[in-house]
Amino acid sequence: MGTFRDRTAVAGVGYTPFSKDSGVSTLTLAVDAILAALDDAGLTVDDVDALATHRVGDSTPPWVVAPALGVPEVSWYLDQFGGGSVSHSVVGQAAMAVAAGVAETVVCYRAINARSEFRMGGTGRGPAPLFDTQYQAPYGYFAPPQQFAMFARAHMNAYGTTHEQLGRVAVGQRASAVRNPRALKRDPITLDDYLASRWIAEPLRLLDCCLETDGACAIVVTSRERARDLAHPPVLISGAAWGGGDSLFSGAGSGVDGTDFTVTEAARLAPRLYAMAGVGPGEVDVAEIYDCFTYSVLVQLEDYGFCAKGEGGPYIESGAILPGGELPVNTHGGFLSEGYVHGINHIAEAVAQLRGTAGDRQVPGAEVALSTAQPGYVLAGTSALILRSDP
């Protein structure tokens, strides 16, 4: 220990006026307080690389505030659920991020209309709906399969990506799940099965969608030294990166630039992640890639640098991501076939691969694994880990 004390500092503070009725949104309050604090510190928005807040469904999160301010790149954020009891942990966690070197300048804020809108205890207006919802839900558009269908169509429009290319993700991952006793779906499927499955939201079919699953998964993190004394060979956390965040309007990774649904926040995160871990995509032996839908895998193959932008479809067709390919992907079957526990089962599978305990689905000699999160299309940016076996 002893690496934390006095290493970080508060450099600025800012306020909005206090009142019983601000007359403005919590987004506006957040923006005003942040700009005032930056001014106090002698900094500008361009100096900011991280945001942190807490809320109980009553305020505006970093992934709306950052693009509204035009923060150039968000390399860390915190959107902590909780009320007054977590208020100081927001600054504490910001200090940890700075001390760890993952962020340089964090703005911490709390913006509430605690009298005129959301009153504690649930009186007054109910929790504010998500920023984007008002412009989408009235058209019958709000479910994740619809959102990812919209992104997939944009990729098809731009690069000629095909249904068959998406289908090969589903078919290939099922082939892996056949070798995974934990998987919910273990019957092999063919491309014809895929193409015959019913539409959910065109261009996505039933077999493009992950399995709604009841379950839990847990991970223990400790120091490398302590891990070396425990039951298994350590799996080292070489890199951990997160950040970004945009509304569905501004598009992934596009707070200021034009909206392009064919590029996700993962494209901005990947260089930070690889630099932290000291490896590149060519050194990744196995990848567990967030697969809420088949398209999520395709676009991340591009954004994590395994193939060029627009080449995700042909890369999949080449067989590269199948068992025995150059980059086995979702060796447990993924959310599409093992089960959907929102990401942590990808990390657990990466650990099994690096321990060499993955049984029939083991990637021989796997030393470096990438595990990724939802790539930043929806809500709070994206996150990813690079894990490796203890050399």
Binding site: V45, G70, Q134, G140, A154
Partner: protein, 142 residues
């Protein structure tokens, strides 16, 4: 059509003027007083020059289809009699030359799903739900 049973928009304090204009069958966007950038959806600060000064200005009401879905699954029981229905994401012509990047959602009205293609020119149509709510929908231009 079960329009009356759809989820109602819940405006926030920044977007209320936009929804009021839609109610009057006017399509508007924000224009930054500081740098002239057009802005949608509604927010009180410009993310290019950070000016808080802006005006609501009329939009042309035309745009191009950027992406779309055709929804088949009944995600909401009140819309069961509408499936399959398309949802479009339209890039407005306003500000497109200078990359202002204004996008709006809406359903396709008065057109055929089979005719959808990227870049298809569309124009805004105002559809009154009831005494309180109006929505912007899109139809092929011309």
């Amino acid at each position: 059509m079960s329009l009356a049973q759809r989820p109602r928009p819940e405006p926030d304090r920044d977007s209320a003027p936009w929804w009021e204009a839609v109610r009057r069958h006017e399509l508007t966007v924000q224009r930054c007083d500081g740098c002239g950038t057009l802005r949608f959806p509604a927010r009180t600060v410009c993310n290019r020059c950070r000016s808080r000064a802006y005006a609501w200005v009329p939009a042309r009401g035309t745009g191009r289809v950027y992406s779309w879905v055709v929804n088949h699954q009944v995600f909401m029981r009140s819309m069961a009699d509408e499936v399959p229905f398309p949802v479009l994401l339209v890039r407005l012509d306003d500000g497109a030359e200078q990359g202002d990047d204004l996008l709006m959602y809406g359903n396709l009205t008065g057109g055929d799903v089979a005719g959808l293609r990227p870049g298809l020119p569309v124009e805004a149509v105002f559809v009154d739900f009831d005494e309180e709510t109006t929505l912007v929908q899109w139809r092929p231009a011309g």
